[in-house]
């Protein structure tokens, strides 16, 4: 596996009142890997990636990305530095066309001359090339999820964070999604929160399990499957 560290988090803390959503997490992301983040509901997965993407401010701890300290950078600057985030609840611009949705992601990195071409390329990549002129809100839910991923890809990120990308997809769509994600590495790095264990076990090179805001275990899918503490907390096995 890749050896360079793309992102490194140390001692991340985020509490909401008495709720310790993220409570002292150390986390490393290797360049070019597909890393899955799993854990029971309320384990702090979404809060944790919100800290990485900058949507939620960190209370204490540090985040380094490609060696630079990004802990205090606002979210839009982190996007420009190569951290793309796709939303758990699909948030495409429903009243804009599919083309405009993706063009917004492309043009922000200054590709004005190649805007149309690169936008179409990003759409083709997720299989929405023939829907460019449709209004995004009229697409099926599965297609909107693909559009969301196309927007993330069009940012040309070093790290793509996907928050429950397969939620609500049909079985056939999930297969296509898996092939799409596998094709992204090792040029890019993928961090995904995922509840579908088949997807996690098929795709992930490494898995981190969160529970009550803390890291319960990190390792390969095989190691995680065999881990007694994980089984007790999450997989429902009798440890």
């Amino acid at each position: 596996m890749a050896s360079l560290t793309l992102l490194e988090a140390r001692g991340l803390v985020r509490h909401f009142g008495g709720l310790k959503a993220v409570d002292g997490v150390d986390f490393d992301l290797a360049e070019g890997e597909i890393h899955a983040l799993i854990g029971p509901n309320g384990a702090g997965k979404t809060t944790f990636v919100s800290l990485l993407s900058g949507r939620t401010p960190v209370q204490s701890g540090t985040i380094r990305f490609e060696g630079r300290d990004i802990t205090r950078l606002p979210a839009h600057v982190r996007v420009r530095q190569g951290i793309a985030y796709t939303f758990q609840i699909t948030q495409v611009f429903a009243n804009l066309t599919v083309f405009d949705n993706v063009a917004l992601a492309v043009q922000g990195r200054g590709a004005s001359k190649r805007l149309a071409r690169e936008t179409r390329a990003a759409l083709d990549r997720v299989g929405l090339g023939d829907r460019a002129d449709d209004v995004a809100g009229t697409l099926s839910y599965g297609h909107q999820r693909l559009l969301e991923i196309a927007m993330g890809l069009a940012l040309n990120p070093r790290l793509l964070i996907l928050d429950e990308p397969t939620q609500g997809l049909a079985i056939g769509e999930i297969e296509a999604f898996k092939r799409l994600i596998e094709g992204l590495v090792p040029e890019r790095t993928v961090l995904l929160i995922e509840h579908n264990m088949d997807v996690v076990m098929d795709l992930a090179h490494r898995i981190t399990v969160l529970n009550f805001g803390q890291v319960l275990a990190t390792g390969t899918p095989e190691a995680i499957r065999a881990n007694a503490a994980v089984q007790a907390a999450y997989l429902g096995g009798q440890a």
Binding site: L104, A105, L115
Partner: protein, 316 residues
């Protein structure tokens, strides 16, 4: 492929140019005034219709342009051209300054803060009555209303000058909303958080849009002073913040030509209603209720929606 959006808007300009010879005197003057006020409405539309900033204080920017032109002209003897430029700068600078503070808020708070700034400016105008002449207003004498040798107090010249300003504003707006930056403005209106996660700083995008909106408003205010020879506190009051919103809503928020259409419709609605009754505001109110019920996207907004994909091509 021909640029159909450009064609439709050039068509509108051609009709207005032809109207210069066809309209009877009364309507000729009325349309000239509508053209100038439409530039103000277009400015409001850039902020509200495209970027989603609901301001209740745009009279501030209009009045900044109005007094920014009228005061140098009458008090300090500037020429018409420089006074016009001064008004334009005043409206732009005022919008940038207000934006720096007001854009820390959003939604209802933004409405209240902008309203507050505009009211403060209105009261300042009354307070400095020695120079601004307060409620009574500044009447600009006919010899002062010259720009580059053209006498803007002359009806025919005024119409063509108003049309020129309107044409520039319309084509610039058309260019803007179809440019990449226009797309970002709409993204802010539709979903600010999503736009932020595509790498756009909402504050700077909205500040730029508001400043541009101030440029339009200031240009309209300055042109109003020179063309109609009057700058008064009533033009800085709250009703002049509400009016552009009504024009934009009536014509279609987020359409390039909508503000003009709304302004024209509203003008003639009041004009005809006043021939029948003194309760013209009641007629306006009924029209607005009907609008909200039957065409909440305004005249052009409804038309664009009905035309579907074709509508988006012809009416950006």
């Amino acid at each position: 492929m021909t640029d159909r959006a450009l064609l439709s808007h050039l068509g509108l300009l051609a009709v207005l140019f032809a109207a210069h010879w066809l309209l009877p005197a009364y309507h000729h003057d009325a349309v000239a005034k509508v053209l100038v006020l439409s530039v103000y409405a277009m400015g409001y539309n850039i902020a509200f219709g495209y970027t989603g900033m609901l301001s209740l204080g745009h009279a501030l920017f209009f009045a900044a342009g109005l007094y920014g032109a009228a005061m140098p002209l009458t008090l300090w003897g500037w020429t018409g051209g420089t006074a016009l430029a001064a008004g334009l700068v005043a409206g732009t600078a005022m919008a940038a300054a207000v934006g720096l503070l007001a854009l820390r808020t959003r939604g209802v708070s933004f409405m209240i803060v902008t309203l507050m700034f505009a009211q403060a400016f209105y009261l300042t105008i009354l307070y400095l009555g020695r120079w601004t002449r307060g409620d009574e207003g500044i009447v600009i004498a006919q010899p002062l209303r010259q720009v580059a040798g053209f006498d803007l107090s002359n009806g025919a010249t005024r119409y063509l000058a108003a049309l020129l300003l309107f044409a520039l504003a319309l084509l610039l707006c058309l260019r803007l909303v179809r440019a990449p930056f226009g797309r970002v403005m709409v993204a802010m209106r539709e979903n600010e958080e999503r736009a932020r996660m595509l790498g756009y700083n909402p504050f700077t995008v909205k500040l730029a849009a508001l400043t541009l909106s101030g440029l339009y408003s200031g240009a309209a205010g300055a042109a109003y002073a020179l063309m109609f020879g009057y700058a008064g506190a009533s033009l800085a009051g709250v009703q002049y913040s509400i009016l552009p919103m009504l024009w934009v809503l009536l014509g279609g928020a987020g359409t390039v030509a909508g503000p003009f259409l709304g302004c024209l419709l509203m003008f003639y609605l009041i004009d005809y209603a006043s021939a029948l009754t003194s309760a013209t505001l009641l007629v306006v109110g009924v029209a607005l209720v009907a609008l909200v019920l039957f065409a909440p996207k305004g005249a052009l907004g409804a038309l664009r929606e009905r035309l579907g994909k074709e509508g988006r091509i012809w009416l950006p």
